[in-house]
Amino acid sequence: MSTPVSAARAGWLLMRRDLRLAMRRPGEWLQPLGFFLVVMTLFPLAGNPQLSRLRDMAPAALWVAALLSSLLALEFLFREDGQDGTLEQLAVSGLPLSWLLLAKTCVHWLLTGLPLVLVGPLAATALGAPYASIPGVLVVLLVGSLALSLIGAVGAALTLGLRRGGVLLALLVLPLAVPVLIFGARASALAIALEPMAGSIYLLGSIAVLSATLAPLAAAAAMRISLE
């Protein structure tokens, strides 16, 4: 209590704590990845499994699956810490709550977003994307999934502790994620077609930067209301 901690150090400590806790329960943060793969599998089963046909559908499948699995992962973002009172402690710690939530969101992305970024391009090749497209798709997913986690954090903070929170969370987050979906799918389509995709990446990146600046502030404001 007596030693003051700088915000940067507190963020770092919080990240380490969250990572260590998550490592004890790998099942929890691997679930969204499993869900992502299942949804990706459903697309060829529901449609025409010819690789040439699947290639047209691959960007859409990739981004719908990524969006849904990031939505599923949001359940784990604040739930545990909300139930055991950790979030209250963070809120009254006197440190900037937006900064702490940004740290938590980054860890959450490392655990649920990064595996998806690494596996996503491979899943896309199973839908007919050429192997040469793997780096491009990887970059797109990297930027896009960060934006998704940040936007999702606002929704998770708003619905923290609500009954029927899950469905409401989907209704709140999915419309806000429409631009990420559009730019991400377009950039992936260009990557799969092995065309230059710098323009779409810049648009996606600007959304990610905007989310990184504004979403933690909104999430902190929402969190303080949810904790009352």
Partner: protein, 246 residues
């Protein structure tokens, strides 16, 4: 000094009385403007040389689309003002906006697709305006869902204010991204509504309808907000007096 009226307006009893007195001043001009606009749009305006009589849908579609966007912005502004200066009346106003906005978003969607059937040959085209309008409807539904999921009014006010502000930041981004997406995938089959080269006989009824719908919205919002204010201030002394008056 100039802030006195602002604080006065923020006081619930003052707002309740003033809103009650103001409502007819918005409602009757709205009725007159809409009747005039309807006559001008349905009878006296000439048929469009490309779209024939079908273009007359614009006189309900454009005002509804305008309201859907304008009400969302108004809702976000009220929410922000209510949150920053802790003015309860503004939260009541924001709460009254959502239902009206959602209903006019629905009207804009349905009239847009009714217009699309003769013009595009299909009820639903992934036109950027219709698609943005659809996402806007989801934003309204999310806002209303969040409000109804929180029982405590004060908490619901503040939480939905955050959502309204986040949504308002997103609306232009969504609109831009949808327009960009559409321009990639289709020949520009953009709705030909709202050409600037409209002759005055078509344009004036449209402007009358736009203004009439806007005044109508203000009148309805004031009526709803009075009810919201009463509900929020249930225990207060002035509420008892106001209820006896009415």
């Amino acid at each position: 000094m100039a802030w006195i009226w602002f604080h006065k307006l923020g006081s619930p009893p003052h707002f309740y009385r003033l809103a009650g007195r103001m409502t007819p001043w918005f409602a009757w001009p709205a009725l007159l403007l809409c009747l005039g606009g309807l006559y001008g749009g349905l009878v006296s305006a000439p048929a469009d040389y490309q779209q024939g009589e079908g273009f007359r849908i614009i006189y309900v579609h454009a005002p509804a689309a305008w309201l859907s966007v304008m009400i969302y912005s108004a809702m976000a502004v009220y929410a922000a003002v209510g949150r920053i200066w802790r003015i309860n009346v503004c939260h009541a106003l924001a709460a009254s906006c959502a239902g009206i906005g959602a209903s006019f978003t629905l009207v804009a969607l349905v009239t847009g697709s009714l217009w699309g059937r003769p013009m595009w040959g299909t009820y639903w085209e992934w036109d950027p305006r219709l698609t943005s309008e659809l996402v806007l409807l989801f934003l309204y539904l999310g806002y209303m869902g969040l409000r109804s999921a929180i029982d405590d009014t004060a908490r619901a006010d503040r939480a939905s204010a955050v959502l309204a502000i986040v949504g308002a930041v997103n609306v232009p981004i969504i609109h831009y991204s949808v327009t960009w997406w559409n321009s990639l995938h289709q020949a520009p089959s953009v709705m030909k509504f709202g050409k600037s080269s409209m002759p005055a006989s078509m344009l004036i009824p449209l402007l009358m309808m736009l203004l009439g719908f806007t005044l109508f919205f203000v009148a309805i919002m004031l009526v709803r907000a009075r009810g919201e204010v009463l509900r929020r201030e249930r225990g207060a002394q002035w509420v008892a007096e106001a209820a006896v008056e009415a």
